[in-house]
C-alpha cells in the first residue's frame, strides 16, 4: 500500500496533477477491457508426443501376449461403418475370411477409428455367399484408448489395409506375419511431404508381404522401383459376382438412355472437375443429345450443378451398395475417372452389368481391354475425353457390338479364384 501511495505521489510530482488524473483514468479503463481468451492448454513438445499428435495412426498396435492365445487371422482397418465400407475394405474382408477358412482359424477384425459396422459385415457375407468355418471377433482398438490391448500369438497373421495400419502393426509384430493389401498407389493421396515419405517407406518394407489389387498396380509399383514387390509381392484381380449384376430388362423402367458420372468432389483422384468440363463440352457440342440421354451423378455430391446449356443432372449421393448396383443396372454409359494406375472398381462394376465406360489413362494404365472391350481408356485432356465419350455413346447405342463385348468380358467373378494363389502362398 505504501508503495502504491509513493508511486502516485511521485507521478504527480513529476508530471503534474492533471496528468496524474488522466493516468488514473487510463488505469481504470485498461483494467476494464476484457482480457484475451486464455490460450489452449499447452501441447506437449516432447518429441514422442509430437509424433504421436501428428501421426496417431502409426503408433504401435498395442499388443500383448496371453499364455495360450491360439493363432488367429487378424484384419486391421479404420472402420466398418458405411462411409468406410467401400470396395477396398470389403475386398480385404473377403480375403481375410477366405484365408481364415483355409487355415481353419478364427478371424478377428480390429478397427482403429470407429466401432460398429457388424451389419455391413453380415450383408457382405450374404451378398457374396460366404460362410466362416470358425468364429469372428470384432475388436475396436481405439487409437485414443491406452487401456486396449490385442492379444497376439507368435503365429497370428495380420492383414493390413493401408500404409498407416501397416506402419502401426509392423512396429509390434514380425514383419513376415503381415500381409499388406495394397489397393492403390497410396503415395498419391499426398503432396510430397512426411506422409508421402512414410507411405513410400512402408510400401518398400523388405519383409512385409504385399498383396496388390490388379496386375496394373503391381507392375506400376515395380516400374517405380519397389523391388521388394518382386520377391514379396503378389497380385490378384478382383471379382464381381455376376449374379448380383445381372440385368433384368423387364425391371428397368426408363424413358431415356442413362449416362453415369462418378462424382466424388472430395476425392481428388476422381477428377470431379475435369469430368464436369468434359460433360459440359460434350453437351455444348451436342455429343450428348438430351432428347436421348439423361445424366446421373452418383458418388458423394448432392450439389445441383447447372451446365452451360442450363441442364441440371440428377444426383444420387451416397447410395448403399445394394442400391448402387441396382441403379448401375439401368446405366448405358459411364464416365468414371481415376487419376492413378488402378482401374478402380466403378468401370469394372459397370462393365459387369453390360454398360460401356469411359475412363482415363495413367502411366502404365493404357488399356483396360483385358477386362472388357466395353471399357474405353482415354488421354486426360478435355478434347480426348470428349472424343472418347462420343465413341462411348456410339458403342453404347450399338447393341450388337456392346453385347458381343459384354459376353467376352474377362472380369473375374469368383473371389476364390481371385485369391487362389495368395491363399496358397500364405498357407505356408
Amino acid at each position: 500500500m505504501y508503495k502504491i501511495v509513493w508511486e502516485v505521489f511521485d507521478y504527480g510530482k513529476r508530471y503534474g496533477i492533471k496528468n496524474l488524473f488522466f493516468k488514473i483514468l487510463e488505469q481504470i479503463f485498461t483494467e476494464r477491457v476484457p482480457s484475451e481468451p486464455s490460450p489452449e492448454p499447452p501441447i506437449s513438445n516432447v518429441i514422442s508426443d509430437v509424433f504421436k499428435q501428428r501421426f496417431p495412426n502409426i503408433e504401435p498396435l498395442p499388443i500383448c501376449s496371453y499364455s495360450d492365445s491360439s493363432a488367429q487371422i487378424n484384419l486391421v482397418t479404420d472402420s466398418l461403418l458405411d462411409d468406410s465400407f467401400y470396395g477396398g475394405v470389403a475386398t480385404a474382408i473377403i480375403f481375410a475370411i477366405l484365408l481364415a477358412n483355409s487355415q481353419d482359424k478364427k478371424l478377428r477384425i480390429i478397427t482403429r477409428h470407429q466401432n460398429g459396422g457388424k451389419d455391413n459385415f453380415k450383408a457382405l457375407l450374404d451378398r457374396e455367399n460366404l460362410r466362416l468355418t470358425q468364429s469372428v471377433e470384432f475388436v475396436f482398438c481405439d487409437l485414443n484408448d491406452n487401456n486396449k490391448f490385442i492379444d497376439a500369438s507368435n503365429e497370428d497373421l495380420f492383414i493390413t489395409t493401408s500404409w498407416w495400419t501397416t506402419a502401426s502393426v509392423k512396429k509390434s509384430v514380425p514383419h513376415n506375419k503381415i500381409i499388406y493389401i495394397l489397393q492403390e498407389d497410396e503415395r498419391m493421396f499426398y503432396p510430397l511431404g512426411d506422409e508421402h515419405l512414410l507411405c513410400s517407406e512402408t510400401i518398400a518394407s523388405p519383409e512385409i508381404n504385399l498383396l496388390i489389387n490388379t496386375k496394373l498396380l503391381y507392375t506400376h509399383l515395380i516400374n517405380d522401383g519397389f523391388e521388394n514387390i518382386l520377391t514379396n509381392g503378389l497380385y490378384f484381380e478382383p471379382s464381381f459376382n455376376k449374379s448380383l449384376y445381372i440385368k433384368r430388362e423387364n425391371d428397368i423402367q426408363k424413358t431415356k438412355q442413362r449416362l453415369f458420372f462418378y462424382a466424388r468432389p472430395n476425392h481428388a483422384r476422381n477428377l470431379f472437375f475435369r469430368g464436369m468440363e468434359v460433360l459440359d463440352k460434350a453437351l455444348q457440342l451436342g455429343i450428348i443429345d438430351l432428347e436421348l440421354w439423361e445424366i446421373y451423378f452418383l458418388g458423394t455430391t448432392s450439389d445441383e450443378i447447372q451446365f452451360s446449356n442450363g441442364y441440371i443432372p440428377k444426383t444420387l449421393p451416397n447410395l448403399a451398395w445394394k442400391d448402387y448396383v441396382e441403379f448401375l443396372k439401368t446405366i448405358d454409359l459411364g464416365l468414371s475417372l481415376m487419376y492413378t494406375p488402378h482401374p478402380s472398381y466403378p468401370p469394372l462394376d459397370l462393365s459387369t452389368t453390360g454398360s460401356v465406360v469411359v475412363t482415363n489413362k495413367f502411366k502404365n494404365k493404357n488399356s483396360l481391354e483385358n477386362y472388357s472391350k466395353n471399357i474405353l481408356v482415354s488421354d486426360l485432356d478435355v478434347q480426348s475425353l470428349v472424343s472418347s465419350l462420343e465413341k462411348g455413346i456410339a458403342l453404347s447405342l450399338n447393341e450388337e457390338q456392346r453385347q458381343h463385348n459384354y459376353i467376352n468380358n474377362n472380369i473375374k467373378s469368383d473371389w476364390n479364384h481371385s485369391f487362389e494363389s495368395a491363399i496358397k502362398k500364405y498357407q505356408s
Binding site: 496371453y66 499364455s67 492365445s69 457388424k118 471377433e137 470384432f138
Partner: protein, 387 residues
C-alpha cells in the same frame, strides 16, 4: 410385455438357517456331504451349494449341509462324521489347507467345485480383457493375481473337481491333472414354484401381451460391458426402426453413450433376488445373452437360457460352449453370431407375429425341465459319493 398377474413375492434368503438346524439336517442320513463356501451369496453359493444341498436332502440315504468361513472350526470338528467335503470356489488360506489335509487323513474325499475359469493365473490377461478391467491400475493386477492364484492353490490340494460343464472340466485338467465330473447349474424348488405359476398364467392367456416388445438383458455382475457392446449397434438400429421396442435391463451395466438417446425407452432395475428375478424375466418377450467368445466365456454356464425358458421367455444367445449345446437354434431359442444380432432379433420378433413363439417356448420349457429341473439331478449327485 406379457400380462402377468403374479405379484412380487416377499423374499427371505432360504439358506439363512441356524447352524444347529443345518447340523441336524446333515446327521439325518448315514452318508454325509459337507459343503464349504466362504460366505453365502445369491450367485455361486446359490447355484453350487444351496441348490445341491436342497436336492441331496430330497434323496434317500444321503444328506448334506454347508459351512462358511466363520464356521470352519465346526467343520474341523465333524470331519470324522462326513464322507465327502466339497470346497466351493474358495481362496487358499492355511486353515483351509489344514482342513483339507486333516480330512484326507481321515479318509474323507475332498472335492473342489468350480463355475468359472478362475484358477489359472496364466489366464489372467484373458479374464481381465474379457471383463473390461483397467490394465493400467496396479491394484487390478494385485487383486486378480491374488484371487486366482489362491483359488488355484486350493484346487491343487483336492482329490477331484466338479465343474458346471465339460469345457471348464477340460480347462481344469489342463491346469492340474485331476479327475473331474460335471454337475450343471440347475433350477431349485423356489425358482420352479414361481416359474410354474407364471408359465401357467401365460399358457392360459395364450401369451397375452401389450403392444410393446421388451428385450431383456439380465446382468448378474458388473463386468459385462464388453458383452453388451456386442449387441448395442443392433439394439440401436432396432430402437430407431421400431417404436414398439423397449429395453429392460436388470443388474449392473454401464450403458454406452450411443444408446442413451433412447433413455425414455430403457428401463433399468437393480439386482433382484432370485425368486422375483424369475417374475421380471417373465415380463419380457426376448431375453438376450450376448457373450464374447473365448476360453473364459466358454466356461460360463447356460443359466440365462433356462431361467428365461422356465418362465416362457425366448432367449437369443451367443454361440458359446454351453449355450450352443442348450439351444437348438430356431427350435427352442436362437443362437446369434456377433454380426447376426440385427437379423436374429428380427427373426425372434417375427415369432411373436407368426405364432411360432408359443411353440418354441413349449419346446424350451420342456427341454429345460428335462435338463435343468432340480429333481432331474439326483442321479448325478448320487455319483458324488462314489467320485
Amino acid at each position: 410385455m406379457f400380462y402377468i398377474n403374479t405379484l412380487p413375492a416377499e423374499y427371505i434368503e432360504p439358506w439363512a438357517v441356524s447352524l444347529e438346524n443345518r447340523l441336524n439336517s446333515l446327521y439325518s442320513s448315514d452318508r454325509r456331504i459337507a459343503y464349504f463356501y466362504e460366505k453365502p451369496d445369491c450367485s455361486t453359493f446359490r447355484y453350487r451349494v444351496y441348490n445341491m444341498i436342497q436336492t441331496i436332502q430330497d434323496m434317500d440315504g444321503i444328506s448334506a449341509t454347508y459351512f462358511c468361513l466363520e464356521e470352519i472350526n465346526y467343520l474341523h470338528s465333524i470331519l470324522d462324521s462326513i464322507n465327502v467335503l466339497v470346497i466351493c470356489r474358495a481362496r487358499y488360506t492355511i486353515s483351509l489347507n489344514s482342513l483339507i489335509a486333516r480330512a484326507k487323513n481321515k479318509g474323507v474325499k475332498v472335492l473342489f467345485d468350480l463355475d468359472d475359469l478362475v484358477f489359472n493365473t496364466q489366464k489372467i490377461d484373458l479374464i481381465l480383457h474379457t471383463l473390461d478391467q483397467d490394465f493400467n491400475q496396479e491394484g487390478v493386477w494385485d487383486h486378480w493375481f491374488a484371487y486366482i492364484g489362491r483359488i488355484g492353490a486350493l484346487l491343487k490340494l483336492c482329490d477331484g473337481c466338479i465343474t458346471t460343464n465339460t469345457y471348464l472340466g477340460d480347462q481344469v485338467k489342463e491346469y492340474h491333472d485331476i479327475k473331474t465330473m460335471t454337475i450343471p447349474n440347475f433350477l431349485n424348488q423356489e425358482q420352479l414354484a414361481i416359474s410354474n405359476k407364471i408359465l401357467k398364467e401365460k399358457l392360459e392367456s395364450h401369451f397375452q401381451r401389450t403392444d410393446t416388445i421388451y428385450i431383456g438383458y439380465f446382468s448378474g455382475t458388473p463386468t459385462h460391458n464388453k458383452d453388451f457392446a456386442i449387441v448395442v449397434e443392433s439394439l440401436i438400429k432396432l430402437l430407431e426402426q421400431d417404436k414398439r421396442i423397449r429395453l429392460l435391463i436388470v443388474g449392473y451395466l454401464e450403458l454406452p453413450d450411443s444408446i442413451k438417446k433412447f433413455d425414455d425407452r430403457i428401463e433399468v432395475y437393480p439386482l433382484h433376488d432370485f425368486v422375483n428375478l424369475q417374475r421380471l424375466m417373465s415380463l419380457v418377450e426376448i431375453n438376450i445373452v450376448p457373450l464374447q467368445n473365448n476360453k473364459f466365456t466358454n466356461c460360463k454356464s447356460e443359466l440365462k437360457f433356462f431361467e428365461a425358458s422356465i418362465v416362457g421367455t425366448l432367449t437369443i444367445a451367443s454361440p458359446t460352449f454351453t449355450y450352443k449345446s442348450a439351444i437348438n437354434n430356431a427350435k427352442n431359442g436362437f443362437i446369434s453370431n456377433d454380426y447376426e444380432w440385427s437379423e436374429v432379433l428380427s427373426k425372434a420378433m417375427d415369432t411373436l407375429e407368426n405364432g411360432e413363439y408359443e411353440q418354441m417356448i413349449r419346446k424350451a420349457h420342456s427341454d429345460t425341465l428335462n435338463k435343468y429341473a432340480w429333481y432331474n439331478q439326483k442321479n448325478l449327485l448320487k455319483e458324488l459319493m462314489d467320485f
